[in-house]
Symmetry: C2
Subunit: 324 residues, 2 copies
């Protein structure tokens, strides 16, 4: 039997907020102590490519080639492909940069050769110089479909093309029933964990798809390690993305408390700790009442230093929890 390695941390991530904390964690932990499990529900097919926005955010962030001005894509990006495509009357609503295209074209070619999404992600990480492991939550296609006034839209269609304007009725993760949790992630969990960190990503769009995969919640619970969720809402506003509007349309309070309640109701007994921003300190007692340890800190990550600081705060919190 393998000796269990209790130094290892699993982070669940989707979107830009997730990739920021993942970057911070990657500066605090060596590659063998951190694995990031990425949402693939936002993946979609566009212009013949399978585009994986959440994986790419992680790849770009962890390899230091992310565009921090834009908040997405690569630094030094140019847009000549897009302007040439526009002249041709092609679909330009999804902003594919010239450098970014290399990721999509490389991925499409490798997938066509028969490599799995995990294998391609590893090649991409190698090429970009991201040394911490990024695992797609599954190698089978899962597609987050937004059922709204306009019908059923892929998430990117709803998010980018329709600018989150249509009112949302519900969210479905197409393919989730037949998708299998990435075996490398299961293996990582079962070898022993120090903690699971749920990054400040949208619970419905980024975290639910991961936790909806068969077996992942049970495998994590079985470890009995701290499971820390970081609120993606600060002071009632989602920093990025449509979280707040979605929460309200789905009947959930747009606040850190709403996020904590959602996790506790949807995944009873999973979370041990909840991290909220200083601005939401007034909610701490209510969140603690949900049977969660709470920790108040600065969760806004608008610089590399802040990303590292939040990661350090969370790792300290975990260490303290474990020392009791």
């Amino acid at each position: 039997m393998r000796e269990k390695n209790k130094e290892r941390v699993l982070a669940l991530s989707g979107g830009v907020g997730g990739s920021k904390l993942a970057f911070g964690l990657s500066k605090m932990l060596p590659p063998d102590q951190l694995t990031i499990l990425a949402n693939t529900g936002d993946d979609f097919e566009h212009l013949g490519f399978t585009i994986c926005p959440d994986i790419d955010s992680l790849l770009y962030s962890l390899s230091g080639i992310n565009n921090s001005k834009l908040g997405w894509g690569q630094k030094g990006e140019t847009w000549n492909f897009l302007s040439a495509l526009e002249r041709l009357g092609g679909e330009t609503w999804f902003k594919l940069g010239d450098r970014d295209l290399a990721t999509h074209i490389f991925r499409a070619a490798k997938l066509k050769e028969g490599l799995s999404l995990s294998e391609v992600t590893m090649l991409l990480a190698d090429g970009m110089g991201a040394s911490h492991r990024i695992l797609p939550m599954t190698d089978q296609p899962v597609r987050t479909m937004i059922h709204c006034e306009l019908g059923s839209l892929s998430f990117q269609n709803y998010f980018v093309k329709e600018r989150c304007e249509p009112k949302v009725k519900n969210i479905k993760f197409e393919g989730i029933e037949s998708a299998i949790l990435n075996p490398a992630a299961l293996d990582f969990i079962e070898q022993g964990l120090k903690a699971v960190i749920i990054c400040p990503s949208n619970p419905f769009l980024s975290i639910d798809p991961i936790l909806s995969l068969d077996g992942v919640v049970d495998a994590i619970k079985k470890q009995g390690c701290p499971v820390v969720a970081v609120s993606n809402i600060i002071g009632g506003a989602a920093l990025k993305g449509p979280a707040a509007k979605l929460m309200s349309e789905l009947g959930i309070a747009e606040s850190a408390l709403g996020v904590a309640k959602y996790y506790q109701e949807r995944y009873p007994g999973l979370l041990t700790d909840f991290v909220l921003d200083q601005k939401d300190k007034h909610l701490e007692n209510d969140i603690a009442m949900l049977d969660l340890s709470t920790s108040v800190t600065q969760t806004l990550m608008n610089s590399s230093e802040r990303k590292k600081k939040l990661a350090a705060d969370i790792l300290n919190l975990v260490s303290k929890a474990l020392s009791f």
Copy 2:
């Protein structure tokens, strides 16, 4: 029965030399009087795209967005995709520019939707603003394979990746037996032609694939119109591409005379006129001995003016031939 329109010119083109003369012709003739039949033998599959270099040379040239400095691709081109792909360890031997990629991605998406190559070419021409009709020689895939020391290579592999270095044994047009001459081209021919102009393109690589399609030579001969070939060799050197080296490896003299002889032997009774450069005037008598009317002019097209001038010279030649 339709009245025959005898004002119309069919140009056969491949490569850069062909696109230059096609540009010149497009400035001399209105769209309804000129159709350009493009070689597709150079097409190849790369990074998941079907790339059509000869069609694209025509599209870019006729819409005025060609890069005249490079001699290929689009003007104002950038290379950020390629540099990002290089970092990933992708295949970068074929120089895909950022703007150029829009053509390939658009084409691939439309082909996948079920459009024919002809239909996609029309959409591309519309988008770029090329008003003269460019027809792929066929909608079925034909692939020029170079059988050489290294085995069997696609033309672009041989030409770009291997820089024409391997010694050529022979050339095969894979798929030519089952490929059907573009019906729109056949229709254009059968409605009556003033002339056929064989552009100064490589006879083996650019013109042979077109003329190897079942029925095209007979259909042209049936029109009884002037068929003018322009030498792609000036003073013993092919201006662009591997023509001279190939000719020598296939045992044919590297000269305008060699080109004329080749056409006469391969397609007896097809050509009526042969246009050669001033530098090759000493070969005129020998070429005339091949039962060809000859015309000596400046065939080097290193400016827009020269392209138009050569087109005008050829059209004058045709008019004179018809007035006898």
